[in-house]
Amino acid sequence: MTGIVIRRALAAVPLLFVVSVMAFLLMKAVPGDPVDVLIGNAERDLSPGQALALRREMGLTRPWPRQYLNWVAGWWGAGELGRSYKDGRPVACVIAERCPTTLLLVGSAVALAFAGGITLGTAMAVLSWSSLGRLLERACAVAALLLYSAPTFWLAFLAIFAVERWLPGWPILGPHRAGSGDQLGDALQHVVLPALLLASRKAAKIALFVRAQVLDEMGREYVLVARSKGLSKTAVVARHIFRNTMPPVISLLGLSLPALFGGSVLIETVFGWPGIGRLAVDATFGRNYPVILALIVVYGAIVVASNLVADVLSCLADPRVREQAMAPGTRPAPGGTGAA
């Protein structure tokens, strides 16, 4: 197991390098360099000579590989390219203080999407056994499809409107009440609504997926064996099928992490959460190059790291994946693809 973790962690390093190089090339590829933006932000004209001096000072006249290294070193405050244009602090500090908020939001959403999606999907599959239940199940499937199609920030407006009207007093904005930042109950109360909305699209997707998966599994031979052994249908679902649907759902969630972090940009804006998503929006408006470029790398790192976790989890949940991963030289497809 440790071997798998180490191997995967090592494989993640070149990926992160690629991400940082992409961010750097982005900075180089677009018209205008940081100096142009700085001058634009300061709204004063510099003579070409002064601009050149500034470029030289910021290291923008050096060869690209050197600039890249400078840029990476700069995140910790070593160089001009690594300081936020807004307040001059190193971008690593600016981003680090905002990370926990986003991780709390996205983490809660992942947990909700996972639990809600699997429960709903299994319930839908079980419902379809009776003719009355099948109507209900069809209604749920249509609802999930609609939920999946609606833009999250729009759903968030509707939810805020509904909560305002029918649940007055329920906290809506921000991650905690002013002055009570470390109270668990308060934090939980605040996180529920945004996390539910962020999770809604994924939960709908997972529910539809699990439903199809459970119905597929119902026709398999091991289910027939379990049934002929005398187990009730419910027991078969609970003991056998449920375990088999877990690994693909884990890898599905792992794959949708970038989308969840992207969604958190919107949800943080709607609900006024001071996370890195909101930071990215502010940096975009402020043309805060150093922050937004470092954010790209940070997001990449978070996604790569959480994919690592998802990989390990699906190894834990599915022995077949584990064995594949142990076999040297093969890159395992996460999830129970062996059964698909």
């Binding site: 991400v19 992409m22 142009d36 989308a259 919107l266």
Partner: protein, 318 residues
């Protein structure tokens, strides 16, 4: 045991879904086409006319079937014009993304070896960055005045950019920015397709007849990989539409000159406090309808053609 029947009833029939999606999509397209013709019915001349004396009229008011928003803009009229923006952004961005992605993926597959590895690592790397964040970064660069400075005058004229108007520049920027972040799944798909196809006998036959690499790519590989790629394009339309809506909500969308559903939802946020829920409801329903239509069409199509590929990674955050 009735297992067969039950299994066949587990999802809507693919043909039905495709037809439903196509119907919904054509309704929305008709909306977009009729947009210039509706103003006599709705009482306003343009979708962006502001009249504060008509602010926050509820639905079914005289002359305003769907009501007005907090600036007195007619919601029906704005929705119909918005259909144009949403469809244009969706279709153009998906078209560009799939074309670029197909070429990238196919070339990567044909090149093989180290080139293939590097090209696909680039795709992997970009896929691990949330598309919306990448779009934000690109948007912050693209909207900079420097871009207008470097574009050739002919392009600027084509986009109707003038000293006093951005013309279609915001539309072009959005389309480029969105397609720049959504081509990745298409690239992976195209690579996998080409990998499968190129070992087939007719490809070997063509090669032994002396067809070159480029000819092979354009004449034999891409046309035979077309069906899943066209389906991918359909599904990408929904991603692009949601992305545009999200960007518009953040205030980085098409700008006030071009009405779009995303911007309508965004501006409706202001009046939600005054109890004006209808201004937010209509455009949101329309966005959902478009996304639903495209998804039904694409996924029904996948099942009709028999190639089921679960598409999970490239969902936009919106």
């Amino acid at each position: 045991m009735g297992g067969r029947r039950r299994r066949s009833g587990k999802r809507l029939r693919p043909g039905l879904r495709t037809a439903g999606g196509a119907l919904l999509l054509s309704l929305l397209a008709v909306m977009a086409l009729l947009a210039p013709g509706v103003w006599p019915l709705t009482g306003t001349h343009t979708p962006i006319d502001v009249d504060l004396s008509l602010a926050n009229l509820p639905p079914a008011s005289a002359g305003h079937l769907l009501g007005t928003d907090f600036l007195g803009r007619d919601i029906l009229c704005e929705s119909m014009w918005g259909a144009r923006a949403s469809l244009a952004v969706g279709i153009l961005a998906a078209g560009i993304a799939v074309s670029v992605g197909s070429l990238w993926g196919a070339m990567s597959a044909l090149a093989g070896g180290a080139v293939d590895a590097v090209m696909m690592r680039v795709v992997d790397g970009l896929l691990s960055i949330p598309a919306l964040v990448l779009v934000l970064a690109l948007q912050s660069f693209m909207s900079s005045p420097q871009l207008t400075a470097v574009l050739p005058p002919a392009v600027l004229a084509g986009l109707a950019v003038s000293p006093w108007s951005h013309g279609l520049m915001p539309l072009a920027t959005i389309v480029l920015v969105i397609s720049a972040t959504t081509w990745l799944e298409a690239a992976r798909l195209a690579r996998a397709q080409v990998m499968t196809i190129r070992s087939q006998e007719y490809v070997l036959a063509a090669r032994s007849l002396g067809v070159g690499r480029l000819g092979m790519l354009l004449r034999h590989l891409l046309p035979n990989a077309a069906v899943p790629l066209v389906v991918e394009a359909t599904l990408l339309v929904s991603d692009a539409v949601l992305m545009e809506a999200g960007l518009s909500y953040l205030g980085l969308g098409l700008g006030p000159g071009i009405p779009s559903w995303g911007q309508m939802v965004a501006s409706a946020q202001m009046s939600l406090i005054d109890g004006n829920w209808w201004a937010a409801l209509t455009p949101g329903i329309l966005i959902s309808a478009l996304v639903l239509a495209v998804n039904l069409l694409g996924e029904g199509w996948l099942e009709v053609t028999g190639s089921r590929h679960h598409r999970v990674a490239a969902q936009p955050g919106a």
